[in-house]
Symmetry: C2
């Protein structure tokens, strides 16, 4: 299988971690540790010890641990968009495309051999647990200006365009798209940790149940027959 690389916005790193062995080790181990410890308890010191490197070296790749998190989450959204393109290529009907997109978004992902350095499954868990932390910060406006959220915004506007294609008169395609995207991870988080907030928790396969919930939500909302 061909090994691929995703282009990640250059403001997210100081030195491209995909360009060196150490960079790849930093990213791979960061995914492991954030998944395991949670973002708060994760530190560059722990990371440096695990890969037998130093804090100073890691700082040469990432300005701080928060930018590293945004880098990882952005990588995930970009990867999702790439997979969505693959999956929707041969679907002429926008309705089918939307369903396929939702399937992909709510999928419990396995290792993607096109990107051998990244553990997509662990990254998926990180997205579920930590993705909000990318933008729920005081500096959100500055970060946004610097283009750090383009990965997420790109995916969201793709979804919004698809919604508009199906129902051009629907007034809130972007709001619906962002709501569904957010809910897609939120409901899984609730299912695991605050089960009384979502029926998804009672299902044998929460991922499938999540898909059903969101599919109904989106199609009912933009349904023109009403």
């Amino acid at each position: 299988m061909t090994v691929l690389q995703l282009r990640i916005h250059e403001n997210l790193y100081i030195k491209d971690p995909q360009s060196s062995t150490l960079g790849k080790k930093i990213v791979a181990e960061a995914i492991k540790q954030i998944d395991l410890l949670g973002f708060e308890a994760f530190t560059f010191r722990k990371l440096s010890l695990a890969i037998h490197s130093t804090e100073a070296s890691i700082y040469r790749y990432f300005e701080n641990k928060h930018r590293l998190l945004i880098y990882l989450i952005t990588w995930y959204w970009s990867w999702l968009e790439y997979r969505i393109q693959l999956v929707t290529q041969n679907l002429p009907e926008p309705t089918d495309r939307l369903k396929a997109v939702l399937k992909e978004i709510t999928n419990r992902h396995q290792q993607d051999d096109s990107f051998p350095d990244i553990d997509e499954n662990a990254l998926n868990r990180i997205v579920i647990a930590e993705s909000d932390k990318t933008y729920r910060i005081k500096q959100v406006d500055q970060y946004n200006e610097d283009g750090l959220f383009r990965g997420y915004k790109s995916l969201c506007s793709y979804l919004a365009r698809l919604i508009s294609e199906i129902n051009p008169s629907y007034k809130y395609p972007h709001a619906l798209a962002s709501t569904v995207l957010e809910a897609s991870t939120q409901q899984l988080f609730f299912a695991e940790h605050l089960p009384s907030l979502s029926e998804v928790s009672q299902s044998k396969d929460p991922y499938v149940s999540n898909y059903n919930f969101l599919q109904e939500l989106i199609f009912q909302t933009i349904d023109t027959s009403a």
Copy 2:
């Protein structure tokens, strides 16, 4: 106007801040500072300086700043539920009740004279900016066991019951309730900081636009005519 008090889960504080002058000052100033600085930059040291007290004294009320945040956000959800009860009292039709509830949830709140110590407007901004931080933590399961999220869960299940009343066959009342509750603050956050993620940002009054978006979302989703 009668001055009221909300009962907040006792695990959220060490000593009830509503029981003393210092306690009230801590809460009032914390709201000001978190609103102004954001939760990350907010510290007990800054807070203690502002109210001419000491860190040690604040620690006698709250175990740490995170629990103080949960206390504030819980206060807000409980207050919302209290207001919702007022507003829905005389509405026999569940459809009218749901609309009134949504109006209340999406309202840009003003000072409530029944609670003179709390700046509801600032607290509303804190909820929009920081509410996720209450539960997006590694200790979420322990916190949940300790009952720290009952305020939010109570509001969510109220909404879910209302949804079920309108459409008893709808399969995801809690998931829809939590999605709408989350979206109600999220969309306002996006409108202000990441406007391309929501049409709500383009409206003259984002609060009204947010209401319209959510109202349509919820009623279309549980509509039985389809």
